[in-house]
């Protein structure tokens, strides 16, 4: 079952599509990384999932039910969220802030202890939140989202403003959610590298369009990069390759070819050898996930 499913989801501001026909599917029990540069449409999509923002077109389903006026409260009762910036009442303590959310969620106050433990804020529970660092506020925001043990967590850039140790801690916390609490997580970031250690599924969005969606392992298959050919007679080899319809780039003595399937590459090597280009070496470069992400977002090509 998918805990989140959208179809044809759009949000238009004037003539600009902030979210453009997004079809998202988040399977139950996974950590889904929603990745895209700033302004790509991540927050708007997440706000539409929660009913904070009304779609121009399309549908949203959470936990198998349509997100509409009729189901909204029942769905929100099973969903925890942290959207955009961590929300809080600065003149109150962390405990009082959590009591407010517990009141609104109708959750037992005993749960406050549990979530404070999870985010390691027990020691500072009676400090005014106005005196908290951004990282502590982020953790408080997560604690608020965790109140009541939701089945689904929607977290919008929760690692923003955290130091490396804080990011590591947050990763460990989120990675364990499906296993330890049975909670599925949708988490956004503008950096794939920040989340690749903890996510199973990934969705890449840019300019409102979902460019890739699927298991992280699937994305890694796209990591096959350029082919580097070292030839004794590069000019001769380049002519052969161009006749085969390939775009060839020159890098000092080497020729660079776009990513190719193994069978096609074998054919080309044979042709080069037959033409007397003198094949000295063939290397296949591999892209990092960050490069794949950049390739996808820069070209806007869908890899779904």
């Amino acid at each position: 079952m998918n805990v989140i499913e959208t179809s044809g989801l759009c949000k238009q501001f004037g003539s600009h599509f902030a979210v453009d026909h997004v079809a998202m599917a988040v399977p139950e029990g996974c950590v889904y990384g929603f990745i895209g540069p700033n302004g790509a449409g991540k927050s708007t999509t997440m706000k539409m999932l929660l009913g904070l923002c009304h779609p121009t077109a399309g549908h949203v389903q959470l936990l198998g039910k349509a997100m509409n006026d009729q189901n909204r409260l029942a769905l929100l009762r099973q969903t925890g969220s942290l959207i955009e910036n961590p929300s809080c009442y600065g003149h109150l303590t962390a405990e009082e802030n959590l009591q407010i959310v517990a009141d609104l969620k109708g959750v037992d106050k005993k749960d406050i202890d549990r979530v404070l433990d999870i985010v390691h804020l027990q020691k500072d529970r009676r400090r005014k939140v106005g005196q908290y660092s951004l990282g502590m506020r982020q953790r408080l925001g997560i604690a608020m989202a965790l109140l009541g043990g939701p089945r689904l967590l929607i977290l919008d850039e929760p690692t923003n403003g955290l130091d490396p140790a804080g990011i590591q801690e947050m990763r460990a916390l989120i990675a364990g959610m499906p296993r330890e609490c049975g909670t599925s997580v949708l988490i956004s970031s503008h950096l794939l590298s920040e989340l690749e250690q903890i996510i199973d599924q990934v969705g890449i969005i840019n300019r409102g369009r979902l460019l890739f969606q699927g298991p992280l392992t699937e994305l890694q298959k796209h990591s096959r990069g350029d082919v580097v050919l070292r030839l004794l007679h590069p000019e001769q080899g380049a002519a052969v390759l161009q006749r085969s319809g390939l775009t060839v780039r020159r890098e000092q003595q080497d020729l660079l070819l776009p990513p190719l399937r193994d069978a096609r590459l074998a054919e080309l090597v044979q042709a080069l050898a037959a033409a007397g280009a003198g094949v000295v070496g063939v290397t296949v470069r591999s892209c990092t996930l960050e490069e794949i992400f950049l390739n996808l977002t820069e070209s806007g090509v869908s890899a779904q």
Partner: protein
Amino acid sequence: MLHHCIAAENRKLRGSPIWVVFFLLPLLSAAYGTFNFLQNQGVLRFNWYNLWTQHTLFYALFFFSPLVGLYAAYLWRLEHLGHNWNLIMSQPVPPLYLFMAKLAVVFKMALLTQGWMLTLYLLSGRLWAKLPGLPPAEVFLWALRGALAAAPVIALQLLLAMLIRSFAVPILIALGCGLAGVVLSSRGLGLVWPYSLMIAGMNSNKTEDALAGSEFSFVLSCLVFLAVFLLAADCLLRKQDVKA
């Protein structure tokens, strides 16, 4: 569910600077009213009725609307400042309950303010003006009517403070609308302008009952305005996108 929302709103008032204003503004109004009463003894009779008119004249005309406007603006300011719109609107409560909880809390504060105003009236009459006897029983009824008239003003001020992110603008609007209420009251249009209802309910600046015979219209007007503002709030909260 609504009582959970009210409990949450009450928590937000802890340690809030709003209590200072709650305490000081009626004090200022009472001081001004008593001073005016004592300085105009040539025109006013030396009795509890006339002290009431002077107290409520300043209180109902100049202080009450901006005061409830301030309470309302403060409660929404907490949401505007802390990026809290996303937080409250993603909770499993109907959006109108969030508004009604604020209404209940500001109404509670308005009732406390009325009580404080009444206490100050009694104290300044007895200890400062040294009036003989007891105040007329009607003043308690008028204070109660004032509290009822406060409800639509509070709802409208909450609506304005919800839409206008500035803290001061809704309070200035309350002041301006309160003054416009004086003009409309003097033209007999007091029941069609929410900010005039307070003047009529409190019987400000009148020794005879300004609402004699029209109590039903007064209550009806209060309820209709309240219903209209609640409907508007519900509609806006449901239809508008949340901007934190």
